[in-house]
Symmetry: C2
Subunit: 158 residues, 2 copies
């Protein structure tokens, strides 16, 4: 069974996002192993440039990626490719036959560094709209769960 | 000040979605009046056709729309137009100069009836992916809040 890794920056702050994520994690348990890699966010200050913060975060992400073998890297990016949920489900299923580890990377509040976007095999977009990176984690969990329901032919009333 | 109406089917069930919505409602209070119109969902059963359920829900939505004067109707629909958050903010701002009431319609689990989609002045899509209609309510609230932050030139760290 392919593992799904989620590399992200910072912890969920709001209780409601934590509970939403926990719910999808619970529902996903019978289907797939989800491994979270929560890296420490760089702190914001007026003096440090955005590009420097993103570069520092990229270093941490790269160090984390090096620990995962035989992987396929998907970076979440507004300007990336959009899929329908059905196409996403099929794509995930197909990737799972080729890689032991599917790695999703969700950036911090400033987004991902160019170096990470370039190293990803797929840039995935949920929306042209900007959402908080906390919400993007929840969207991702829900779409992974939806993909499992689609791929296993189960009903999922929404 | 333009009122924002949200016509939707059914109540939020999960506590975490209720809390997320309440948080955005609270944050929006100084900026705009949000009026929820929660209509009763039609119950699902194996015998009733999907088109009949959608038609019944459409009747209720139309009755509710008739109560709102001088309005601009935006239906949420996967196949609708996508905006960036900045373009959405500008669009909302522009519409507010023309209408007293901005009405967003979020369908139920089966989506909106064709008659409602046709009667809307704008069909708005957040994503090509399918999400639960409960989540769509939260996305909408967050984007309305983000639009207010963009239009009032305020920082909103995400």
């Amino acid at each position: 069974m392919t593992n799904i890794h989620i590399i992200c920056l910072g912890k969920l702050k709001e209780t409601y996002w934590k509970e939403a994520e926990a719910e999808y994690l619970k529902r996903l348990q019978p289907y797939t192993k989800i491994i979270f890699h929560e890296l420490r966010e760089e702190s914001f200050d007026e003096k440090t440039s955005i590009s420097l913060i993103k570069a520092k975060e990229a270093e941490k992400i790269i160090a984390e990626l090096e620990k995962i073998k035989n992987k396929y890297i998907i970076a979440l990016d507004e300007r990336g490719k959009q899929f329908s949920s059905v196409d996403f489900a099929k794509h995930i299923q197909n990737l799972a036959t080729q890689s032991d580890n599917l790695v999703f990377i969700v950036g911090g509040p400033l987004g991902l560094d160019e170096s990470i976007l370039k190293s990803a095999q797929l840039k995935l977009s949920f929306s042209q709209m900007t959402f908080t990176h906390q919400m993007i984690r929840i969207f991702l969990m829900e779409q992974i769960y939806r993909a499992q329901m689609i791929n296993s032919g189960r009903k999922y009333h929404y």
